[in-house]
């Protein structure tokens, strides 16, 4: 990466008024129905531009039915939000496919494709968002998805600033680029339910216990370091990924949409802080952030192990 180009871009970004759009990623946890409805009622008031909706982790979760999601979608659209329906990460059964087809043919809202099956149903028919699980690590698949109708792509978590810079640093690039900037990282998905396994239950008879853990179930190492979070079929990072301090660099490299992943507390405050930054205020003016602590990480952005917290100032000195 060319450091010179980066700093030039950073300076440019400070002069823009609304330099990027804020998106609220799909809700990854299993919350009670009323909690979900009230969460999105509140979110309608937040300064987010886009809201991704739908169950993306486990097709067994039933607190909200497809019609409930569509009702929330309509309300958010009325409130002026762009709504995107996200497809499930893992599509296995015929009933998974039925739901998938219902989402991809909804006829009103943009769809985020999270597996190749979803791409198959959308490609060449309707514009779509190429989701973070499509593994777009280089220009080759990016160009392909654009040709198939993608209007936006979400960068994989593992692709850091060097990768992003070399992928989109090309003229004629006309895709929106979304980056995951805040939340616990969705690192892996399995057919096995780890929450059920912890509770000594089988997936078929899981009792929907993940509803008891609104931010997942923390996994520590034997020397008591918080390491991962179990969220049903999904495994997340225990640390909260946070690129707030890297905002200018993100925008300089071409990120147009920044994704904040919902958590049970504080999501509104996070959104507001990013919004303040989007309106051109210098990040340093924002003061200490409520979530900023040793439990955050940003390693992936710097091409390091994801769990690391890289001190950007120290990084610059090294460069």
């Amino acid at each position: 990466m060319h450091v010179g180009r980066l700093s030039q871009d950073m300076e440019m970004s400070h002069t823009q008024t609304q330099s990027f759009r804020i998106t609220l990623g799909p809700l990854l946890y299993y919350w009670p129905r009323d909690t979900v409805f009230s969460f999105y009622e509140t979110a309608a008031e937040w300064p987010v531009d886009t809201v991704y909706l739908g169950e993306t982790v486990c097709s067994k979760r039933f607190e909200l039915r497809p019609d409930d999601w569509l009702a929330i979608a309509a309300k958010l659209a009325d409130a002026g939000k762009e709504v995107v329906l996200s497809t499930c990460e893992l599509i296995e059964s015929e009933s998974d496919l039925r739901l998938l087809r219902r989402v991809t043919s909804n006829g009103r809202f943009l769809v985020e494709a999270n597996d190749l099956g979803a791409v198959h149903l959308l490609a060449g028919k309707t514009p779509f968002v190429a989701g973070p699980h499509l593994n777009i690590y280089s220009r080759m698949p990016l160009d392909l998805y654009r040709e198939l109708g993608a209007t936006r792509w979400v960068m994989p978590l593992e692709l850091g600033r060097t990768g992003l810079g070399s992928i989109i640093d090309i003229p004629a690039h006309n895709l929106e680029t979304e980056v995951f900037v805040h939340g616990r990282l969705p690192l892996a998905v399995s057919a096995r339910c780890f929450t059920a396994r912890y509770n000594n239950q089988s997936k078929d008879d899981c009792g929907f216990r993940c509803i008891e853990y609104p931010d997942g179930l923390t996994v520590s190492t034997q020397d008591n370091q918080s390491f991962l979070v179990l969220n049903g079929l999904q495994t997340q990072s225990a640390r909260v990924y946070d690129l707030y301090r890297e905002l200018d660099e993100l925008v300089g490299l071409g990120a147009t949409h920044l994704r904040i992943s919902p958590q049970s507390v504080g999501t509104g405050e996070v959104v507001k802080a990013f919004h303040t930054a989007a309106c051109g205020r210098n990040v340093a003016d924002a003061g200490p952030l409520p979530w900023y602590s040793e439990d955050t990480c940003n390693g992936y952005w710097y091409g390091r192990p994801g769990l690391e917290q890289v001190n950007r100032a120290a990084c610059r000195e090294m460069a």
């Binding site: 990460e89 893992l90 599509i91 296995e92 059964s93 015929e94 998974d96 496919l97 597996d115 190749l116 099956g117 979803a118 198959h120 699980h133 593994n135 690590y137 280089s138 220009r139 080759m140 990016l142 160009d143 392909l144 040709e147 198939l148 994989p156 692709l159 060097t162 990768g163 992003l164 070399s166 992928i167 990282l185 690192l187 892996a188 998905v189 399995s190 057919a191 096995r192 780890f194 396994r197 997936k203 078929d204 179930l217 923390t218 996994v219 520590s220 190492t221 034997q222 020397d223 008591n224 370091q225 390491f227 991962l228 179990l230 495994t235 390693g299 091409g303 192990p305 994801g306 769990l307």
Partner: protein, 362 residues
């Protein structure tokens, strides 16, 4: 338009460069092809001598998902291996099954060119961009969808079939028997299922746990829980294994220490210390063979390019015998206890599981 939709089935029987392989016919004339791993020329010969129909290999870099020091093929051993296989009617599949990275994607394209030039019988690919490249540049080259491509349903498999002419798809180790049957009923693509070896707990191609701890993962560097990130610490009461800065397991006196693969670690949830994701165990589907055959599975894959030639030889021999029995008398097929005993010796933790094939595993 660059991306064209292939007509249904158009690429199902491409002329093979090696001139050997037609779908459905392998050197043993059976419905199911036995697909064996080779991390070296010696292992390739062991696989073929012991009855493999297909052998899969990789070159010495991050273009394949077993990018380990001292493993894989240089140009000479690759060409020698292909010759050795073709003389004996076996096929060589080249795994180019990691994701081309932003800064050096050309490396993967060159690897596809190389595979075509060598005359491999197929390449095993995960990235749709690379499939597109291969289809355009080398229309005669047969394409298999890697397990790393995370295709867990027939819509996904039909997508890569119709767009890029994928001929065979390797299913992620997350589907149950019923789900596999459903895939087969709804796709013209040959289905390859895992038979034996290391068991992936996460959907392949969808796991970044390794890079979260070490900076390297199968998708980005072709390896999980890389050896260079492993550290052992002898404590007063235990032997501790680390990956990067993360304590993966702690072995008390008398316990046999295992390699710190991240998802085989013992972690703590509330007050319980246990194998949070999976015990050290290997997948073994010998007992499912007649069922897999009648369902229409066309190839059985043995995992383990990182394992020794002795492993390849033993596992191939056992599975050849089982397949021959199953082919000759499917109704009378029974798992021979000697087969199971032999496989248990080389299984992780000396134990086996049916994994996701059996619903209760999930």
């Amino acid at each position: 338009m660059l991306v064209t939709e292939q007509t249904e089935g158009a690429m199902r029987n491409p002329t093979m460069k090696g001139g050997l392989a037609e779908i459905g016919s392998n050197r043993h004339g059976q419905e199911i092809a036995l697909v064996c791993p080779a991390g070296s020329l010696t292992a390739l010969k062991e696989a073929i001598d012991n009855g493999a129909d297909d052998v899969y290999v990789g070159i010495r870099d991050e273009t394949n998902a077993r990018n380990f020091a001292g493993l894989n093929f240089d140009d000479k051993s690759m060409r020698d291996g292909i010759r050795y296989a073709h003389i004996r009617g076996a096929r060589v599949l080249m795994a180019l099954n990691t994701y081309p990275q932003a800064t050096n994607a050309q490396k993967w394209q060159r690897a596809v060119d190389y595979a075509a030039d060598c005359g491999v019988d197929a390449i095993i690919v995960a990235d749709v961009g690379l499939m597109h490249y291969a289809r355009n540049r080398h229309p005669q080259l047969r394409l298999h969808l890697s397990v790393q491509g995370s295709a867990t349903n027939y819509e996904a498999i039909n997508f890569v079939h119709q767009r890029f002419g994928i001929s065979r798809a390797v299913l992620p180790r997350v589907l149950s028997m019923q789900q596999i049957a459903q895939v087969i009923a709804n796709t013209p693509v040959e289905i390859e299922a895992f038979g034996f070896g290391s068991l992936s707990i996460m959907v392949e191609g969808r796991c970044a746990l390794s890079s979260y701890a070490t900076g390297e993962s199968p998708n980005t560097h072709g390896g999980c829980s890389p050896a260079k990130a492993v550290r052992w610490e002898q404590k007063t009461t235990s032997l501790d294994s680390y990956l990067g800065a993360v304590l993966i397991d702690r072995f008390q006196k008398g316990e046999r220490p295992g390699y710190p693969t991240l998802c085989r670690g013992r972690f703590k949830v509330n007050d319980d210390v246990y194998y949070t994701f999976e015990e050290p165990t290997s997948l073994n589907t010998l007992e499912l063979l007649p069922k897999l055959r009648s369902m229409g599975v066309r190839a059985i894959k043995i995992e383990g390019r990182q394992r020794s030639p002795a492993y390849v030889s033993l596992v191939t021999r056992v599975w050849r015998e089982a397949l021959d029995h199953c082919h000759a008398r499917p109704d009378q097929y029974q798992v021979n206890s000697a087969w199971q005993a032999a496989l248990a010796k080389v299984a992780e933790g000396n134990q086996c599981t049916l994994g996701a094939y059996h619903r209760t595993w999930k």
